[in-house]
Amino acid sequence: MPPTVGLGFKPQHFEDAANCPAVGHWYEVHPENYMVPGGPRLAMLTTLRDRYPLSLHGVGLSLAGDAPPSVDHLGRLKALVDRFDPFVVSEHLAWSVSDEAYFPDLLPFPRTRQALTRIADNIDRTQNALGRTILIENPSLYLRLDGHELSETAFLTELTRSTGCGLLVDVNNVYVSARNMGFDAETWLDAIPGDAVGEIHLAGHVADARMGERLLIDTHGAEIAEPVWRLYERLVSRIGPRPTLIERDENIPSFKALMQERTRAAHVLACVTSNQRKAVVDA
């Protein structure tokens, strides 16, 4: 059974997580949290990897920065990839390192041709160092910047063409960015080349405390919102089932509560698969 719907692994859920019987289940972690010499954290990941497929979802390569990714950091990532043999490795279309300072966030940039060349080179360097292709995720956006020369979907599509990388579509980020930047989320999703999509993320967001619904914040701290579910159904109806992650990093509920969202996503994927089979039979 290929990976269907997975969960972001939370150490406090380890016992339940390591014994989850769901078919096609998998886990995703930020590799930066496991770049340590030893200890219980790595031991837990070893146990999980013995039982489930694993995805490494990086936050530290700063691929949209104006400098090549750190050779040291690539080395640490390669060591984890070699040790845990993930079925997918992903990063973000964002930067987090500037002049040797690390900002724990996924920061934006003007999507220019110059940036496209730089970022494609950074992705090439990463893929060469790891010996495999990676997926690139669309981040949530909060700043309306001047100077964009390409739309986000055109920029991502160009990266897949020039580097061979795939895409990780975070549907919640599409929704949040669409609301914050003033574009149409459905149009965005329809413009993404389906063949390039290797993974989908689903998460919750909240309205900003001061700005309200005019500014949505991708907190990973709430249940997945209904409009995001509808966008997810639209995307997988078009491109077919893809490994889908339920992300939760704040206000972490019980494992059971996360599994309820997992079940809903698995149902969406099963319906798509069933419809595809039916279409083949009908043809």
Binding site: E32, N33, M35, V36, P37, G38, G39, P40, R41, L42, A43, V59, G60, S62, A64, G65, D66, S70, D72, H73, R76, W95, S96, V97, S98, D99, E100, A101, Y102, F103, P104, D105, L107, P108, F109, P110, T112, Q114, A115, R118, Y142, L143, R144, L145, D146, G147, N180, D208, R210, M211, L215, I217
Partner: protein, 258 residues
């Protein structure tokens, strides 16, 4: 049009400096990035040094952490060791001097985190040492286990740390009764999770000498003069049983290690 490098420099400056709002950056969006960066670092500090917040409360800790992160930007995305400089920061942070043991409690948290992430290695089996004749034993020098960290304090910091390290229960109405005296502590992770072991002055001196590579014969007399609870066979056995030492080199079984 700004190139990528100059754009990054500007946004980095705007994140660091709340009074810098470059043209073209919306204030509301900028504040989201500023808040996320600050929250990310404060959350890591809270996770790596959890006992301080327990002592001073959430508001004081958050305010103090904001000042710390401003001057301690991480250089790398691996944040497992972030906050190692926090104990020294607290030592020079004037408002923290009202709680004279605060920096030392933070230091024990930092040592716990170091022990938690230390390389995995099997602990020493004490059985061969127990069976060894004393002269040979005193000639040995054994390395500490990779996860072993030790510290000595002029106040009951080990006790204060144990009482305040989450998830320790909050004190009842009567509070805590603490015998105010110097204390030592060893932290190690021979199996699974970190364990804490209280140390007497002579036990700390013994382990400190072992850490420096001195042989047991020298280490047992490293304690303070007039120390009444010196290192006898029983105390040594306790330290061996606590798995504070690394597996000895293979030469141990054949001849004394010099």
């Amino acid at each position: 049009m700004r190139d990528l490098a100059s754009f990054q420099g500007e946004l980095a400056r705007a994140i660091r400096d709340p009074d810098y709002n470059p043209a073209g950056f919306g204030a509301a969006g900028l504040s989201v990035y500023r808040n996320t960066v600050a929250k990310g670092l404060v959350d890591v500090l809270r996770a790596n040094i959890p006992s301080v917040e327990r002592i001073v409360g959430e508001d004081w800790f958050s305010a103090c952490a904001q000042l710390f992160i401003r001057d301690h930007e991480p250089e790398c995305p691996v944040l497992a060791a972030y906050g190692a400089a926090f104990p020294d920061f607290l030592r020079t942070f004037e408002p923290a001097t009202q709680v004279p043991y605060l920096a030392d409690v933070a230091q024990v948290d930092s040592l716990w985190t170091q022990s938690h992430f230390a390389p995995d290695e099997p602990p020493m089996d004490p059985a061969p040492l127990r069976a060894m004749d004393q002269d040979r034993l005193l000639g040995l020098s054994l390395p500490l286990h990779a996860s072993t960290r030790i510290a000595w304090f002029d106040a009951p910091v080990a006790t204060l740390w144990r009482l305040n390290r989450p998830p320790a229960p909050l004190p009842g109405r009567g509070g805590f009764s603490i015998d105010w005296r110097p204390e030592g502590i060893a932290l190690c992770r021979p199996h699974g999770e970190v364990v804490a072991i209280p140390l007497s002055a002579s036990q700390f001196a013994f382990l400190d000498a072992c850490r420096a590579g001195r042989c047991f014969g020298e280490a047992v007399s490293a304690g303070p003069e007039g120390d009444t609870d010196g290192i006898g066979p029983e105390t040594l056995g306790e330290l061996f049983a606590a798995s504070l030492f690394a597996v000895p080199p293979p030469t141990l079984s054949g001849r004394p290690v010099q």
